[in-house]
C-alpha cells in the first residue's frame, strides 16, 4: 500500500467520523432548542389579554431575552405546557408570580452567574454581576432590608431588557446618567438617605457630559465609569485619584510625584476633586492656575508661600506661550486669507500647540523647571511660526507691489498700441 492509498483511506475514515458528529450534534441541538422552543401557553394566553397583562408579551419581542432557549418560567416559574391557566400558574408548579425586589438579584444570577449557561449565548459575557452587586451600596442596603434600593431591573428594565450597546437600552452610555438620576435626582425618593440629589444636574453641566452628549463620544465618563456599575459605590477619598487616573493617566502620574500628593494625603483632601470638583467638572482653563481670583491655587496658598510663587511662575509661562501662539496663528491666517500658502504651517504651529498642552498637563508635577522647559520648547516653535507668518505677510505686500507695476506696464503698452493704431489710421486717412 503506497502513501496515496493510506492518505485516501484516512480521508474516508475522517469523513465518516465527521458525518456521525454532525448527525449527533444536530439531534442534541434540536433536543435543547425544543425545551424553550415549544409554544408557550404563557404567551398564547397573555397576548390575548388587555394591557397590562399583554404588555410583557409585547415588550419581550424586542428584548435580549426573546430567545427560543429561554422562557417565562425562568423568572416566574410555573408550567408553560399546561393548557389550564390555574395549573400553569400554580404554586405546585413553582409559579412565583411577580418576583419581589429582594428576590430579583438572586433570580437573575441563576443564569447570569453561571459561566456554563451564559457561554451558550456569549462566551465573553461577564458572570460576576451578582457578586459585585452584593458589595455595592445597593446590595448592602438590600441585604439590610431596604426595598427601595436599585436591583437589576431598576437599571436594565424588566421584560424589555436590551443589550448595553443598544442605544435604546437604559444602560447605553448616553442613557446611564438619566437612569441613575431616576432615583438619585428624585429628592422625595432619596429622603432618608442623607446624600445630595443634585448629581445629575451637576453632571450635565460637566465637560464629561458635554463630550458624551454634544460630541457623541461614548467613551466619555458617565456615572458608572467612576462609581462602578454592578458594584456601585462612591469612590473613597483615597481612590478618587485612581478613578480619574484610569483615563487621565499622565495627570495622575504627575500628581503622584508632586509635593501635593503627600500634603493632600496628610490633610485628608481628596486629590483631583480638590481643584476640579466632582460631578460638575468643568473644562479646564489657564485661569485655574495662578494667583488671581479665579485660580484654584489661592484657595490654599497665601501670598507669602512658595506655592503662591510657583503658581505665578507657571501661569506667566503658560500665558506667554499662549499669547505667542495666538499671535503666530493670527498672522498665518491673515497671510493664508491673502492667498499665501505656507508650507511650514504644518510644523511649527502644531508643535508649539502641543508644547502648550503638555505644559498645561505638567502643571500637576508642580515643577517650575519641567513646566519652564516645555514652555521654552513651545516658545521656540511659536517664534519660528510667528517669523514665518511675518515673512508671509511681507510676501503679500510684495505681490501687491508687483501687481501695481504689472498693471501699470500693461496699461502703458496698451496705451502706446492705441496711439499707434490712431497714428496709422491718421496716416491712412491722409
Amino acid at each position: 500500500m503506497n502513501l496515496t492509498d493510506i492518505l485516501q483511506r484516512e480521508d474516508a475514515t475522517l469523513k465518516k467520523i465527521e458525518f456521525i458528529i454532525l448527525v449527533l450534534s444536530s439531534f442534541s441541538i434540536a433536543a435543547f432548542a425544543q425545551q424553550g422552543g415549544n409554544k408557550s401557553t404563557c404567551i398564547a394566553c397573555h397576548q390575548d389579554q388587555d394591557p397590562p397583562l399583554s404588555t410583557p408579551v409585547e415588550q419581550l419581542k424586542t428584548s435580549v431575552h426573546n430567545n427560543p432557549k429561554l422562557s417565562c418560567v425562568g423568572c416566574h416559574g410555573g408550567d408553560p405546557t399546561a393548557e389550564d391557566a390555574d395549573v400553569a400558574m400554580s404554586k405546585a408548579k413553582g409559579f412565583i408570580g411577580k418576583p419581589k425586589p429582594e428576590q430579583i438579584p438572586k433570580l437573575c444570577s441563576k443564569c447570569h452567574s453561571s459561566a456554563t449557561f451564559m457561554r451558550i449565548f456569549n462566551p465573553n459575557v461577564p458572570v460576576d454581576q451578582y457578586q459585585l452587586y452584593l458589595t455595592s451600596q445597593h446590595g448592602i442596603l438590600l441585604k439590610k432590608g431596604d426595598k427601595k434600593v436599585a436591583t437589576c431591573i431598576s437599571c436594565h428594565g424588566v421584560h424589555d431588557i436590551k443589550k448595553a450597546d443598544d442605544p435604546t437600552s437604559p444602560v447605553f452610555p448616553a442613557n446611564i446618567a438619566d437612569r441613575c438620576g431616576k432615583c438619585h435626582a428624585d429628592a422625595d425618593y432619596m429622603q432618608g438617605y442623607s446624600i445630595p440629589t443634585d448629581q445629575l444636574s451637576e453632571y450635565k453641566k460637566s465637560v464629561h457630559a458635554q463630550t458624551l452628549y454634544k460630541k457623541g463620544d461614548l467613551s466619555a465618563p458617565t456615572c458608572n465609569d467612576c462609581h462602578g456599575n454592578h458594584g456601585a459605590m462612591p469612590p473613597g477619598l483615597s481612590s478618587v485619584a485612581n478613578v480619574c487616573g484610569t483615563c487621565h493617566l499622565v495627570q495622575s502620574e504627575y500628581f503622584s510625584t508632586s509635593p501635593h500628593k503627600e500634603a493632600f494625603d496628610d490633610m485628608g483632601i481628596s486629590e483631583c476633586e480638590a481643584c476640579h470638583g466632582n460631578h460638575a467638572i468643568h473644562r479646564t482653563s489657564d485661569q485655574m492656575i495662578g494667583i488671581d481670583e479665579k485660580a484654584v491655587c489661592t484657595q490654599c496658598h497665601d501670598e507669602d508661600s512658595q506655592g503662591f510663587k510657583t503658581a505665578a511662575i507657571m501661569r506667566n509661562g503658560i500665558d506667554s506661550l499662549a499669547t505667542e501662539i495666538s499671535m503666530a496663528e493670527a498672522m498665518i491666517n491673515k497671510a493664508n486669507q491673502a492667498g499665501v500658502e505656507i508650507q511650514d504651517k504644518a510644523l511649527n504651529l502644531p508643535n508649539s500647540k502641543d508644547a502648550l498642552i503638555q505644559s498645561r498637563v505638567l502643571i500637576h508635577t508642580l515643577s517650575t523647571e519641567k513646566v519652564g522647559e516645555k514652555i521654552k520648547q513651545g516658545l521656540k516653535a511659536a517664534t519660528k511660526a510667528l517669523e514665518i507668518g511675518r515673512q508671509a505677510l511681507k510676501e503679500v505686500g510684495h505681490r501687491r507691489n508687483m501687481l501695481i507695476i504689472m498693471v501699470v506696464l500693461t496699461l502703458l503698452v496698451a496705451g502706446f498700441l492705441v496711439l499707434y493704431i490712431r497714428f496709422r489710421e491718421g496716416n491712412d486717412a491722409r
Partner: protein, 360 residues
Amino acid sequence: MDKLKKLSNWFEERIDLSGIRKFMDKKVVPVHKQHFWYGIGGITLFLFVTQIITGILLLLYYRPAADSAYESVQFIMTSVRFGWLIRSIHSWGANLMIFFLFVHMFSTFFMKAYRKPREMTWISGAFLLILALAFGFSGYLLPWNKLAFFATKVGTEMAAVVPGVGNHILMFLRGGEDVTGATLTRFFGFHVALLPITTFFILLIHLVLIQAQGMSVPPSLEKEYNKNPKTMKFFPDFILRDAVGWLAVLGLLGVLAALFPWGLGEKADPFASAPMGIKPEWYFVFLFQTLKYIPGRILGLNGEALGIFVIGLGILFWVFVPFFDHRAQKNLPSKTFTVIGIVLVLYILVMTTISYFFSS
C-alpha cells in the same frame, strides 16, 4: 531697420515667403456695427497660449502621483520663485478661457456665422469647446485636493449611468472602480498629452478655415454691408486691435492672480466623508443643477440616465446646428434659432445662479 531688412532678405533668399506676404497684404476683416465680436476668438486663443506656457512651467515641478501631487503643487505655491503666480495664472486663465469660449460661441451663434460655407468652422469650434471642458475637468483633479477629488468622483459617476457601456467608460476614466492615484495619473495623461495633441490639430483646422474663408458678416447687416463694404487689413490693423484686448486680459489675469491667488485647499483623503454642497466647476454647474431636478424614475426608466441622454442629444443638436438652421443657410433671418440661443443663455444663467445662491 537695415538689419531687419537684411534678416528678411536672408530668409527670402532661402524660402519663398512671397505667397504668405501676398496673403497678409490681401487679408481684410469686415468693419461694421458688430465687428467687435471678432476679437473674442483671438482673446480665447491668447488665453490658450498662456495656458500652454504656464502649463509647461508647472510641469517642471508637478508630480502626478497620489502621494506627491498635492505636495508638489504646495511646493510650487510656496517655494518655487513666482510659482504661486504661474499656478494662479494657469487656474484663472483656464476659467477665463472657458468663459471667453462661451462668449465666442454665442456671439458666432447669434451672428449666424455657422452658415454656408462655415459649417466646418462651427463644428471644429464646438469640438474645441468640448476639448476645453475636458481640459478643465482633467486639470481640476491634478492638485489632488479634497474638493477636486470628490467633484471628480461625482463627475465620473455620471458616466456609469450610460446604458450598456457606462461601467466601461467609468473604469476607463478612473483606471479602476474608484477615484485613486490611477485616476490622477490617467487624468494627467489626458491633460498634458491626449487633449493638447487633439486640440492642436482641431485648432489648426479651425484657424486655417477662418483664414481661408474670412470673417462672416451677420445676415442682418449683410445687405447694408454689401452696399458699402468697409474693411480693415488683418495685418497689422486687426491684429493690433486684438493685441489691445490681449493686454487687457493679461492685466485682468495679473489682477486676479495677485488679489485672489488660486487656493490649494486640503489634501484629498479617499477615506474622508464628502464635504457638504460639493459642486463641479462653474461651467458644468448648469448641467449638474439640471440633473438634480430630474426625478429618479421617469416612465420606469432611470431618470439620471434619461437626463444624460437628453443632454447628449442637445449637445449633438448644438454641434450640428448649421445643418438644422435651413433659413440661415439661405441667408434668411432665422428667428427660431435666435430664440433657441437666447433661451439657452438664460437657462445657463438661471441654473448657475440657482445652484450657487438658492440650492443647498
